[in-house]
Symmetry: C2
Subunit: 279 residues, 2 copies
């Protein structure tokens, strides 16, 4: 099977490594707007060749859309226009806008909307790692809109690289993603800005990072090119959970002002419940 990967960053590059390691692709052709990324993907052996999107569509059986989510929505109708029996799937962190972008396309069935739930704070081809997806969950959205053979092909790929499969409605997926993953990114970004605004000594930040700041702020290192489009596409459910987050922080602040440490103890004891969910 020949595969084209459009977008040779953390996710696209890691997908390339996984497909090769699990012998799921004979050859992988990479597409990326950035000359540097194309060159680096070749040097790292992520792909066997690089080419333009127009050219690769005719040369492969499977096309993976691994650009930022705004790019996926933009590219998808064009790619569908050009395909015949090829299978297309994406790996974006939002799903509603992407399935809307191709909802009425006559070739809709060739596309499978996917979100392999895995990542790191790093980006670009150098961030690609082999076992990024192993043991993690891949959500497939609105599977009934995909052709049976396309769906089976994609499910085989994701189980082949070691992922567990889940099926969800695109809007339900986006709500869950906002409620857990996307709000964590906003919280971490806001923490980084808070500490950079208040703590003028970079040396103090470095020294104090062993007190837990390092892990809490990890996601603030994430690439804005990836994340701003996610926030844009998932605006409504993100606003909903962000309001809750600000409300919780304000309650903590009120308890601190009042000196109501019983309330703070209760909040912390409740937060500790996360221990039983995430061992």
């Amino acid at each position: 099977m020949n595969v084209a990967i459009i977008g040779l960053g953390l996710i696209g590059g890691s997908m390339a490594r996984s497909l090769k390691a699990h012998q799921l692709a004979e050859s992988i052709i990479g597409v990326d707007q950035s000359e540097t990324h194309r060159q680096r993907a070749l040097e790292l052996g992520l792909v066997d060749a690089v080419d333009t999107l127009e050219n690769v569509i005719r040369e492969v059986e499977v096309i993976v859309l691994a650009t930022p989510v705004d790019g996926i929505g933009r590219l998808l109708p064009d790619v569908l226009d050009r395909v015949d029996r090829q299978v297309i799937f994406d790996v974006g962190s939002t799903k509603s806008e992407i399935v809307k972008a191709c909802a009425n396309h006559p070739k809709r069935g060739r596309f499978v909307a996917c979100h392999p739930m895995a990542g790191t704070e790093f980006s670009g081809p150098d961030a690609a790692v082999l076992n990024l997806f192993e043991g993690k969950y891949c959500v497939i959205c609105d599977a009934e809109k995909s052709d049976r053979d396309a769906l089976e092909c994609v499910e085989k790929i994701f189980t082949g690289i070691g992922m567990h499969l889940l099926h969800q409605d695109a809007e339900v997926h986006d709500m869950h993603a906002a409620y857990v993953s996307h709000v964590s990114h906003v919280s971490s970004i806001a923490l980084a800005l808070t500490v950079l605004n208040k703590e003028k000594s970079e040396e103090e930040i470095f020294r104090l990072a062993s007190g837990g700041f390092r892990s809490t702020v990890r996601l603030a290192k994430s690439n804005p090119k990836t994340w701003v489009p996610i926030f844009r596409q998932n605006r409504a459910p993100l606003l909903d959970v962000l309001d809750e987050h600000i409300t919780v922080l304000s309650s903590f602040r009120t308890a601190l002002i009042k000196g109501d440490f019983g309330a703070i103890d209760q909040m912390m004891t409740k937060a500790n419940k996360i221990k039983s969910i995430l061992k």
Copy 2:
């Protein structure tokens, strides 16, 4: 040298392991209010014996106060009343209230106020790990109030277990600790509560945790018995930085409502600066 460790949790227990591994203590006697902790500390070999606070003071040269910070402030005057030439140091995350608690004590010089900046989200004797302190920073506060021999003894212990030493005024220390470490804990606790409030499916939380939630929420697993007293003792600087944190989150929210993704990109790009500080 015989050492007494008062409080056999994560920090006291790890200190016991470090002192033994670096041959800095001939014998370690443990003191803890909890019978379970005393028993477990013996079973784990953290301490050679357990005893009451009253008894151990006469049997050791060095006394380590490793209870929650409210306990340190309460015990310190009593311990100072009973010592002669022994050295006492603490390992609490706040310093101003603790140095105030002994400011006018005739034996003030025997006490050295310390904060070895290291920790995990776990607690109790079972959380004790050998290399917790290695390569991390230990802040010694108001060192000029300590007797020269006491200070030298404590500095030798901390450098002996592999820590870098810093000297700071207690209030300056507390401000920095609030600005970086303590606000990270509040942010993480609030994120846990937010997600628990909004996401009713524990299974979804578990599945989505690979999207960064796991690390961002890690500190929410911390023990309220340790942390509520820290928040209480460091209330003013914590409120200061918490206000900033809520302001930053509110700006993000406003930009999201307005659809001003240029502003969100700018915030994220600025937050990315943390990459150059924490590699």
